[in-house]
Symmetry: C2
């Protein structure tokens, strides 16, 4: 494949200006963004993106899930397009870069090709996936999931938000439901640039994360049933303290995750105890354990061991425990050739880099099931995301997009 | 002192009928009661109690905190009265017996004396203390606390409920603010009958608990500050998991309480973690530890050891911890002579009994600061209280009131 020369770089200032311009739509209350999927602000953001793409000479496609596709023609009419993109929707208290950098980075790839008057054999398509965040309409990565055949379109349309509004109705309401069949497009490859949403790259001073795997996930909700009782008048041996049993299970979560160091992780982010009164021993604890690993066997092992450990703890204390699997997906191994293209690009450009595993879910994780896929990551300050204080530097954005540009263009093959 | 003969018993059916009649006022949604303090239902309950007392020949007193005093004359005009009673107010989802048994048990003492035409040297006064529960207007045991000089009356009047209404205004509104100075009455002794609100008597098959002490209490609220972070993309060694630190502290609470077995207890009933989302490592945990013991030195030791243990755990994990003492009172040692009167009564009547420590707070705990005081406890099903399903048997109510009768009348001295 013909790769760009190492002197070819994207326009970092133009990229940053576009990021700042997009961030004006759906501003948050604390300097970030609230541009949730299928809101009026989402519609405005889409219109601005489409205007920019058309100005860059692209033709637009729109499918029945609202996924947007901006096409720059290739020279070979039989060659499948190389896709590049992410999502423009944000969390309710989201940052300016999560998702947006991947979409506008894709646009910057096309703008740079135009600047340099470079033709590629394969067409290049910049994509904006609908509802990656999943906050308004669960689950996350909804439209890329339908594209990859993970969910049916009808099921996706029936998802409701907190006010009872349906995804399908809201998509029509904002005017971004297209005619194109979802998932009909075939891809030569797909690349997604994303902020790390973790602290590793910044801590190690690396410019680029070459994403080799996406962690698989198991969400296990535990309900421990003890007995509400007065904190004063119930002797210690007669207590059935569901909060204490939960504490012992949380210690096991840590122990089990650490037994699969360094890549496995585990924690409980969601904890509710009942009746949650200072002078009542908790009679019930409900909490969700989140285990992740890039290896399916490790996830399976962690879940199985936690079930045994929690059952043992509760049996010893005379409590009941119920398990519900509330979420999960298998680990992702990204395409070897695409991953190599990312690594080669970082090398060629002289950016420091390391292999990294994506701990969060991304549209690329679903698309990897139907097309050769890879991801590029850039650092973010303090690992912070899903937070209005999310921050990256213009240099990090530039480096990530430079690598994206080189990987995409090498894969799309420059026509000399 | 002249005690009643062992053949003298209260009228268990009349007592039970009165309990059932009172329970019709402020019915709960699940078979119990919602007769919260200073509501219209509380006013109705007071009126019924007053009607019964007057029918039993008592003269009524009412102080500026709404505490009600029904006097049966003694033969010695210089002898201080023996007080007996508890409270008629309930929790929002309260039972039919908590407090009510102690008041109507006191009334039954007077009715029985009338039946038998027994005169006592000391007058006997049945008391209904205002706002023992403290649910609507915190803190609990408010009016007995003012009576004992623990709180000022003005401070009590300024307590507000969840709707912003003041205790003082609501007391006037329901028409039960009296003229009598609070705490002016001097007492020869006070006895309070109460359901155990714990499981010990039922489990051991004992009829009567002879309450020797009231546990002291320390409420320590801990706030552990870690760092919110993504459950997937944050490596285990870089986490500051406030939920895990809390789990380790909860294990210490158990360990510290058990080190002072059998009388000390400890638990955390109230736990909130933030942001409480399944895919965010908890950045903050706020929870309240409730330590109790009948010995002040033990409470002091438990609090001090927990502070050190929590600080050590958080230091090792790189987290911050803050402590706030949110409540506490010293242990109570009830009056030796009054306690002996209760024990003697149980012996004389042939009821099985054991010494017991009150784990909950009661009006008697405050009055013990200003008068010789003791308590009688009867079992309750499954240790349940502050719950509409609270239950006792008529036999338990009868036995407890028999013991109350004998202890009160022995202390008030029968005039032969």
């Amino acid at each position: 494949m013909a790769a760009p020369g190492e002197n070819l770089r994207i326009n970092g200032e133009r990229l940053w200006d576009s990021l700042m311009e997009m961030a004006k739509i759906g501003p948050g209350v604390a300097g970030g963004n609230n541009r949730q999927t299928l809101t009026d602000a989402d519609g405005e953001g889409r219109a601005l993106f489409q205007k920019w793409c058309e100005a860059a000479g692209c033709s637009m496609g729109l499918d029945q899930m609202g996924n947007m596709f901006a096409l720059r023609e290739g020279t070979d009419l039989d060659a499948l397009p190389v896709y590049v993109g992410s999502h423009l929707d944000t969390q309710p208290t989201g940052g300016k870069y999560d998702g947006v950098l991947g979409v506008l980075g894709g646009l910057e790839v096309i703008r740079t090709l135009n600047d340099l008057d470079i033709k590629t054999k394969h067409p290049i398509v910049v994509v904006n996936w609908t509802n990656e965040e999943g906050t308004r309409f669960a689950p996350a990565m909804l439209a890329s999931g339908v594209f990859a055949g993970v969910h049916t379109q009808d099921w996706a349309y029936d998802r409701v938000d907190a006010k009872g509004k349906k995804f399908g109705d809201e998509l029509v309401r904002i005017g971004w439901k297209g005619d194109e069949e979802v998932g009909a497009r075939k891809m030569h490859a797909l690349f997604e640039l994303h902020i790390e949403q973790g602290p590793i790259l910044e801590a190690e001073g690396k410019d680029i994360g070459v994403v080799t795997h996406g962690q698989g996930l198991c969400w296990l909700q535990l309900t421990i049933i003890g007995k509400d009782a007065h904190t004063g008048s119930t002797p210690m041996p007669m207590r059935k303290n569901a909060g204490l049993a939960m504490a012992r299970v949380l210690e096991k979560v840590e122990e089990i995750a650490l037994s699969h160091a360094p890549h496995a992780v585990g924690a409980a982010g969601h904890i509710d105890i009942y009746p949650n009164s200072r002078n009542v021993i908790p009679g019930k604890a409900v909490f969700t354990v989140d285990f992740r690993s890039p290896e399916l066997a490790v996830i399976t092992d962690m879940e199985a061991r936690l079930r045994v450990a929690a059952q043992t703890i509760c049996d010893e204390m005379g409590l009941e425990v119920e398990f519900e699997k509330t979420g999960g997906f298998d680990p992702v191994e990204f395409d070897e050739t695409c991953v190599a293209a990312v690594r080669n690009a970082a090398e060629r450009l002289g950016y420091s880099h390391r292999n990294i595993i994506s701990g969060a879910g991304h549209d690329a994780c679903w698309i990897n099931q139907v097309a050769p896929t890879a991801m590029v990551m850039c650092p973010c300050v303090d690992g912070l995301s899903h937070n209005e204080a999310e921050e990256i530097s213009p240099e990090w954005a530039r480096a990530g997009t430079d690598v994206l540009f080189h990987a995409v263009v090498e894969t799309a093959e420059i026509v000399e």
